[in-house]
């Protein structure tokens, strides 16, 4: 690891100040991606700004028809939170299948979505459940947040403080995990909400995406059979030694069906 300064401010505004003062500073949340990256000397921040000491970024709370998850809430806390399990079981399920137990004890929602790894699980939840990303300076609709591979709408110096998940009528998440890394080869969140059906796919493409044709079909009949014959094109999908683009395309439909089964089960 290269050398860096380490700070752990106690307020969001202090974080903003630290980031503004140093353009080469980087924010660390759970560190599950950043620290391995630093260990391999693939990043050289001048300062690490740790969010660990900011109480307002922690925890899960119900807020009307929504559940608000603080950016620094570890995956395990979402997975085992009784309110989440009660009201959005698909979100608890998703959180329980991120990484492994130790990763879930450290990794955070805010860190995951700010990193925007194409194979991360949480982006499927944020987009599939039509969540709102709350940042240090504004609110961003899920559909506007993820802009590309490892790219988001966050401006320099802006950090995620929480994500507000509206409680859906029903939702399901199905993941086909990578045999080595355990990330999502394909993960699909299907949700039926007051505003319609949403189908969000992670892992398959450079960034999380929705499948309009599936959403329309499920809006008609919310059953796995409604997805029969609906496929996504392998063009532009990810491909590696464990899963080619055509296999991923196949899995998108399959995981979508399984997510519907879970939502209706």
């Amino acid at each position: 690891m290269y050398s860096f300064e380490y700070q752990h401010p106690t307020s969001v505004s202090a974080v903003a100040a630290a980031l503004a003062a140093d353009p080469d500073a980087k924010v660390v949340a759970g560190g599950m991606t950043l620290i391995p990256t630093l260990k391999q000397r693939l990043a050289m921040p001048s300062t690490l700004v740790d969010l660990r000491d900011i109480p307002e970024l922690q925890g899960v709370r119900a807020e009307g028809d929504s559940i608000v998850v603080g950016a620094m809430t570890p995956h395990a806390d979402v997975a085992y939170d009784t309110t989440v399990r009660d009201r959005i079981p698909a979100l608890a399920y998703l959180a329980r299948h991120i990484g492994d137990a130790q990763v879930r004890n450290r990794g955070t929602l805010g860190g995951s979505i700010a990193n925007a790894d194409p194979a991360a699980d949480y982006p499927a939840a944020v987009v599939g459940l039509n969540a709102t990303v709350v940042t240090s300076s504004r609110e961003i609709a899920a559909d506007d947040f993820f802009t590309g591979m490892f790219e988001t709408a966050l401006e320099p110096g802006e950090i995620v403080t929480a994500v507000r998940f509206p409680v859906p009528q029903r939702a399901g998440y199905a993941k086909f995990r990578h045999p080595a890394s355990r990330y999502a080869v394909v993960g699909v969140m299907v949700a039926q909400t007051a505003a319609g059906v949403r189908v969000a796919v992670t892992g398959a493409g450079p960034s999380v995406f929705r499948v309009a044709e599936m959403e329309q079909a499920l809006a008609g009949t919310f059953s796995p059979d409604a997805l029969a014959g609906i496929t996504v094109s392998p063009d532009g999908l990810n491909a590696d030694i464990h899963a080619g683009a055509d296999y991923r395309a196949h899995l998108v439909t399959l995981m979508a069906k399984r997510a519907v089964v879970m939502a209706t089960g």
């Binding site: 752990h8 137990a101 130790q102």
Partner: protein, 164 residues
């Protein structure tokens, strides 16, 4: 630039001077001489470095020592009783031959002990799922699973509660 980090390790308060980029695993092993915590990979996969931080299992190779400021850390060296009597999970690993070369063992035991917090009645499938963050190349996991099952049961037994 060195930082001063205070934490509680195996029940004892310690303050160490560390570089900002020092990993908790390295500080435990090199500064504090607690070499039972092993490092088996650099991608946060193998779990040999698992310790408890504030009561939860985490991979100490993926945590800066600076991030552990103020934390309660338990390593494999802190699991047995002061007189050397094995913790129920350690005893179960011995009873069921849940270790061979011993390298993954500290992380495996620490991870298994944390399962008692989350799902003390875990069945075989749940134990296997929980252990996905800990690789073992020797045992084929069969005896580890048996050991964890026994260890969880012993941790729950009334005799054990009375002792605690």
């Amino acid at each position: 630039m060195a930082l001063s980090v205070s934490m509680t390790v195996n029940g004892k308060p310690v303050t160490v001077a560390v570089e900002a980029n020092a990993l908790l695993a390295d500080v435990l092993r090199q500064t504090l001489g607690l070499t039972g915590t092993h490092v088996g990979c650099d991608t946060s996969q193998c779990g040999a470095c698992t310790v408890h931080v504030n009561g939860r299992s985490v991979k100490s190779c993926t945590l800066l020592a600076a991030q552990a400021e103020g934390a309660e850390i338990t390593t494999i060296e802190g699991l047995a009783a002061a007189d050397g009597t094995l913790h129920p999970m350690q005893a179960a690993f011995k009873e069921h031959h849940g270790l061979q070369c011993g390298f993954c063992t500290p992380g495996m035991v620490m991870s298994a002990a944390d399962l008692a917090r989350v799902n003390p009645a875990a069945d075989e499938d749940e134990i296997r799922e929980w252990l996905e963050g800990n690789m073992c190349r020797c045992t084929g996991y069969h005896n580890i699973v048996k050991a964890v099952k026994t260890g969880l049961a012993t941790m729950q037994s009334p005799a054990q509660h009375a002792a605690e």
